[in-house]
C-alpha cells in the first residue's frame, strides 16, 4: 500500500489539470482511499501518469542487427553496472534489452509499443521483450507486404484476407497490425520501390499501395483490434512526399488509423536541394479528419542509427552517407535496412526534418491525436524525449536553437512563426494519456480509480529537460522503480496481446501456401502462448 500526498496532478484522461490531490495505491492499482501504508509526501511535486510510447523499435531482429553493427557506439555510451539484483547493459543508439528497460523507466515511461514484428521472427521479438525489465510491452505485426494476403486482395478475396490478417496477429502474439510502405517492400526485393499510390505494385495487376491501405484499415476495424492500422506511408523521407501522404490519408477516410512518424512524410520540394516542410498543409488536413492519430517521429541533431522495414530508403541513405549498411529481407513478409546516421544542424535537409517534427507537434491542435515519438532510433534515441518536451514548452528555447540553423532554411519551414507553448497538461496528454487511448490500453495513461498505478513524480523545475530527464520517483504498478535516478526495483512487465476471431479453417487454407513459400515447417511458425512471459490478453472492440 502506498499513499502519495500533496502532489500536483496532471491526469488528462480524467480532465484533472494541475490539481492537488492524494493518490492511493493498493495491489498495483489506484484505489479511493485507505489508512496506513507508506506515504510519499509529494508536496510541491508534479505527478503525471506513466509515459506510453506508441511507436518505438526496442526488440527483435532489426534492432538486434543494429546492435551488432554499432560496437563503436556501445563503447562510448553509458554503461549500467550489474548488481546482485540488476543485470548489466549498455545505453546509446541501440540499447541492450536490460538497459532499454532502465532508460525508459528512468524518464518515467512505463509502457512501450514495439512497432514492427515479422511473424517469422516474432518468437525472437518476444524472447527479447521478456528481457526488457520494468515496462509493459506490446508489439505490432507487419502485414502490408505479406504476399499471401496481397495475392488474396488481388484476387478480390477480401473475407479470406481478413481471416489471414487475424490469424497472423494471433500467430505472432501481437497486439495490432503495422503496415510499412505498402507494396513497396515487396517491390524492393526486386530492387524496386512502390512510389505511386495508384499504380499496381510490382508483380501485381490490380493491387496498388492505395488499395492495400484501404483494405487493411477496413479489415482491422472489422476485426475490432483495439489499436487501428498503424501505417508507415510510402515514400518515407522523400522530398515532395506530401502528395503521397495526403493521398494515403484520403484512402483512409471512414476508418480509424494511426499514421506513424508523420515527420518523415511531410516534405515538399522536388529534390534534396529544394526540399521543404509541408507540415502546415498536412496539419490542416489532419486537424479536419478526426479519424486519425499520429506520432511525430521527431528528429534531434546528433548520432543515431536508422532502422526501418523500408529497405529502399535505407539503400538510398547508404548511398548518401557511404557508411555502414545492413539489410535483412524476410521471406514473404517484410525486410529491414539499417544505416548509422548523424543529423547535423548545418545540413539543410536535416534542419528541415528537425523543424518539421516540431511543427507537426505544434500545428496539430488536438494533443489527443499527436504523440511524442522519435521513431526510436530513427529520428533520435528515445532517451532524448525530454529535449523535445523542452522544445515544445519553451518558444524562446526553440528560437535559440533555430539561430544555429543555416539562414536559407527560413523560407522552407514555418517554425519561426509558431509561438505556441505546450502546457504541462498537454505534455501529459501527448506523452501518456493520448498514446494509451490510441493503443486502446484502458489501464494505462490514467490515474483514475482501478487503473494501473503507473506514475511519474517530477520536481517542478524551470529547466524542462532536466525536470523530465530526472524524475523524483517513477512508480510502476505501485512499486517504486526509480528514485532520484537510482534504479530501485526491476520488476518484469506484462505483454499485451489480442485474439481477433478467424475462421478455424484458416490453418488448413494457409498450410499449402505456406509450405510453398516458406522454408520452415508450418507448425513452427506461430508463437505458442507458453512462450509469452506474463501475457495480458486484451479484448477486441466494436467499431461503428
Amino acid at each position: 500500500m502506498l499513499r502519495i500526498t500533496g502532489g500536483t496532478i496532471y491526469d488528462p484522461a480524467n480532465g484533472i489539470n494541475g490539481e492537488v490531490r492524494d493518490l492511493y495505491v493498493e495491489d498495483g492499482k489506484f484505489v479511493s482511499s485507505f489508512t496506513g501504508g507508506r506515504t510519499i509526501d509529494a508536496t510541491g511535486l508534479v505527478i503525471f501518469p506513466g509515459g506510453v510510447d506508441v511507436h518505438t523499435h526496442v526488440a527483435g531482429g532489426s534492432i538486434n542487427f543494429a546492435r551488432a553493427m554499432t560496437p563503436e557506439d556501445h563503447r562510448r555510451t553509458q554503461a549500467f553496472i550489474r548488481s546482485q539484483t540488476r543485470r548489466s547493459g549498455l545505453g546509446g543508439m541501440a540499447p541492450t534489452t536490460f538497459a532499454t528497460g532502465y532508460l525508459y523507466a528512468g524518464m518515467g515511461f512505463t509502457t512501450v509499443n514495439e512497432a514492427a514484428v515479422p511473424v517469422l521472427s516474432a518468437r525472437h521479438t518476444h524472447e527479447e521483450m521478456a528481457d526488457i525489465p520494468i515496462v509493459d510491452k506490446s508489439c505490432l505485426v507487419l502485414m502490408a507486404n505479406n504476399e499471401i494476403m496481397l495475392d488474396l486482395l488481388e484476387a478480390g478475396e477480401y473475407e479470406r484476407a481478413k481471416h489471414i490478417v487475424a490469424w497472423h496477429v494471433w500467430a505472432a502474439k501481437a497486439y495490432g497490425v503495422k503496415a510499412v510502405n505498402p507494396g513497396g517492400v515487396a517491390a524492393w526485393k526486386w530492387g524496386k520501390d512502390a512510389n505511386q499510390l495508384s499504380e499496381p505494385v510490382e508483380g501485381y495487376k490490380n493491387t496498388t499501395p492505395g488499395s492495400i491501405v484501404t483494405s487493411l484499415a477496413k479489415i482491422i476495424d472489422e476485426l475490432g483490434l483495439p489499436h487501428p492500422i498503424h501505417l508507415h506511408c510510402n515514400n518515407l523521407g522523400a522530398p515532395g512526399n506530401i502528395t503521397t501522404t495526403l493521398e494515403t490519408m484520403k484512402h483512409l477516410e471512414g476508418h480509424r488509423a494511426h499514421m506513424a512518424h508523420l515527420q518523415y512524410h511531410a516534405y515538399g520540394g522536388d529534390d534534396w536541394d529544394t526540399m521543404k516542410s509541408e507540415s502546415a498543409q498536412l496539419a490542416e488536413y489532419f486537424n479536419a479528419h478526426p479519424n486519425m492519430t499520429t506520432d511525430a517521429g521527431a528528429v534531434l541533431f546528433g548520432d543515431t542509427v536508422t532502422i526501418t522495414a523500408d529497405g529502399p530508403w535505407q539503400h538510398l541513405l547508404y548511398k548518401l552517407t557511404g557508411r555502414k549498411w545492413g539489410n535483412l529481407d524476410v521471406e514473404n513478409e517484410t525486410g529491414c535496412g539499417i544505416v548509422p546516421y548523424s543529423y547535423r544542424p548545418s545540413n539543410l535537409v536535416n534542419a528541415v526534418q528537425w523543424a518539421t517534427g516540431l511543427e507537426l507537434l505544434l500545428l496539430i491542435d488536438d494533443p489527443w491525436r499527436v504523440f511524442l515519438s522519435t521513431d526510436h532510433p530513427n529520428g533520435a534515441c528515445f532517451w532524448r524525449y525530454p529535449e523535445i518536451v523542452q522544445l515544445l514548452m519553451c518558444a524562446d528555447f526553440r528560437k535559440e536553437c533555430m539561430a544555429g540553423l543555416p539562414p536559407e532554411i527560413m523560407n522552407r519551414i514555418t517554425l519561426p512563426e509558431i509561438n505556441r507553448e505546450y502546457t504541462l497538461y498537454e505534455i501529459a496528454t501527448i506523452m501518456s494519456a493520448g498514446p494509451a487511448r490510441a493503443l486502446g490500453l484502458q489501464q494505462k495513461g490514467n490515474l483514475g480509480i482501478g487503473k494501473d498505478a503507473d506514475m511519474v513524480i517530477y520536481h517542478s523545475d524551470k529547466d524542462i529537460a532536466r525536470m523530465f530527464g530526472h524524475p523524483r520517483y517513477v512508480i510502476k504498478r505501485g512499486e517504486i522503480v526509480i528514485e532520484e535516478g537510482d534504479i530501485r526495483e526491476t520488476p518484469d512487465g506484462s505483454e499485451y496481446l489480442v485474439k481477433p476471431s478467424f475462421d478455424p479453417g484458416t490453418d488448413e487454407f494457409l498450410r499449402p501456401l505456406f509450405e510453398d513459400r516458406y522454408c520452415m515447417s508450418f507448425e513452427n511458425y506461430p508463437v505458442e502462448m507458453e512462450r509469452i512471459e506474463r501475457p495480458d490478453l486484451q479484448q477486441c472492440i466494436t467499431t461503428e
Binding site: P95, T97, Y318, C519
Partner: protein, 319 residues
C-alpha cells in the same frame, strides 16, 4: 564502409536466381542446402526451379559441390581476398588487366563473365564457408565478401550469408547481442559488457592463460582449439555441461551431464539466417537441462557475498 546485407533462407528459395558458394562444400557439409533452399526448389518467381537458377562454386579444389554447379572458379589457395577485391574494382569499372588477375589462378575472361552474370542476376546471393572465413585473413575475408554484396546493390539485389558450423552458434550470437550489445568476445570483469575480439575471445583468452577458471556449455574446445588453449583448460578448474563425454569433459575438473537440447530439453534454436525455431523435446531425460543447471549455480552464487566492490550504478565513460 562495410556492413551486412542479408536475407532469410526462404527469400533464397523463392527469389535467388544466382547462387554463389564461396569456400564451402555444401554437397558434403550442408547436404540439404541445395534441395531445401538454393537449387532444386521451385517458386512463383522461379517456376522451373533448378533451370531458372545459376550456381557458381568458388573454391580452391574441385569438391563434390563442383558437380552441382554451373560454373566452377578454382581460386589459388590464399587468394580469396585478392580475388574479391579485384571483383570490387571490376564492378565499378576500374581498369583491370590480365596481369593483375593472374595471381588468383583465374583468367580475366572468367572474371568478366562472373561480373556480368552478377550484374545480370535478379537476386544474387553469396554463401560463404570456413574455406573463406577460417583461412589467412579470416574476418577480413568475410568482410570482403559482405562488402562486395553490399556494393552489388548499386546494380541489382544481392545478399550474403555465412554458412555456420555445428551447434547453435547463431543462437548464442543473437542472445549475447540483445543482452550485451556484442555477439561474442565479451568481458564482464568491470561489471558491464566490453567487447574486443582478439582480447576477450575464448581462444585468445585461453592461449594467453588470462583466465583462472573455465565454464563450458554446448561446445567441445578440447577437440577443436590449439594445443596451448587445451593445456590451459587442463590446468585451471574447468567445468563442463554436456550430455556426452567429450574431449573437454575428459580434461575437466567437473562434468555435469545434462539433457540434450532439442531431444529432451526444450528451447529455441536460431537458424543460420537468425530465424528462431522452437525445439520440442521428443524424449524424457533423467538429467537436468543446461538452463536448470546454470540457474541453480546462479542461485548458489547469490548466497555468497558479492565479488563486486562499491561501484556506481552507471558509468558515463567506459574503459
Amino acid at each position: 564502409m562495410g556492413g551486412k546485407v542479408t536475407c532469410t533462407l526462404g527469400e533464397v528459395k523463392n527469389r535467388a536466381d544466382f547462387i554463389v558458394y564461396w569456400g564451402g562444400n555444401p554437397a558434403e557439409c550442408h547436404p540439404r542446402h541445395f534441395t531445401k533452399y538454393t537449387l532444386m526448389q521451385k517458386s512463383p518467381f522461379l517456376p522451373r526451379g533448378r533451370k531458372d537458377r545459376t550456381m557458381v562454386l568458388v573454391d580452391i579444389r574441385e569438391t563434390k559441390s563442383a558437380k552441382a554447379s554451373n560454373i566452377f572458379l578454382q581460386v589459388r589457395p590464399g587468394k580469396d581476398f585478392e580475388l574479391i577485391t579485384l571483383l570490387r574494382a571490376m564492378i565499378k569499372d576500374q581498369p583491370i588487366s590480365e596481369a593483375q588477375v593472374a595471381e588468383t589462378g583465374l583468367t580475366i575472361e572468367q572474371l568478366q563473365d562472373f561480373v556480368s552474370r552478377m550484374k545480370a542476376a535478379k537476386y544474387g546471393v553469396f554463401f560463404f564457408g570456413m574455406g573463406l572465413s577460417m583461412t589467412r585473413g579470416k574476418h577480413m575475408n568475410s568482410a570482403a565478401l559482405l562488402t562486395l554484396a553490399a556494393e552489388m546493390n548499386a546494380f541489382t539485389k544481392f545478399v550474403a550469408m555465412p554458412m555456420r558450423g555445428h551447434g547453435n552458434v547463431t543462437g548464442a550470437d543473437v542472445i549475447m547481442r540483445w543482452q550485451t550489445g556484442y555477439p561474442f568476445g565479451i568481458s564482464f570483469n568491470r561489471g558491464y559488457p566490453r567487447y574486443n575480439p582478439g582480447e576477450f575471445s575464448t581462444v585468445d583468452v585461453l592461449v594467453r592463460g588470462d583466465t583462472d577458471c573455465a565454464f563450458i556449455i554446448g561446445a567441445d574446445p578440447g577437440a577443436t582449439m590449439p594445443q596451448p588453449a587445451i593445456d590451459h583448460l587442463a590446468k585451471v578448474p574447468t567445468i563442463v555441461l554436456d550430455p556426452h563425454v567429450t574431449h573437454t569433459s575428459k580434461l575437466a575438473r567437473v562434468h555435469i551431464t545434462t539433457a540434450p537440447a532439442g531431444i529432451s530439453a526444450p528451447g529455441t534454436a536460431y537458424r543460420m539466417d537468425e530465424i528462431p525455431l522452437p525445439l520440442r523435446p521428443a524424449l524424457k531425460s533423467p538429467y537436468p537441462s543446461d538452463e536448470e543447471v546454470v540457474r541453480r549455480i546462479k542461485e548458489a552464487l547469490l548466497e555468497k557475498p558479492d565479488w563486486m566492490g562499491e561501484r556506481p550504478q552507471m558509468l558515463q565513460n567506459q574503459i
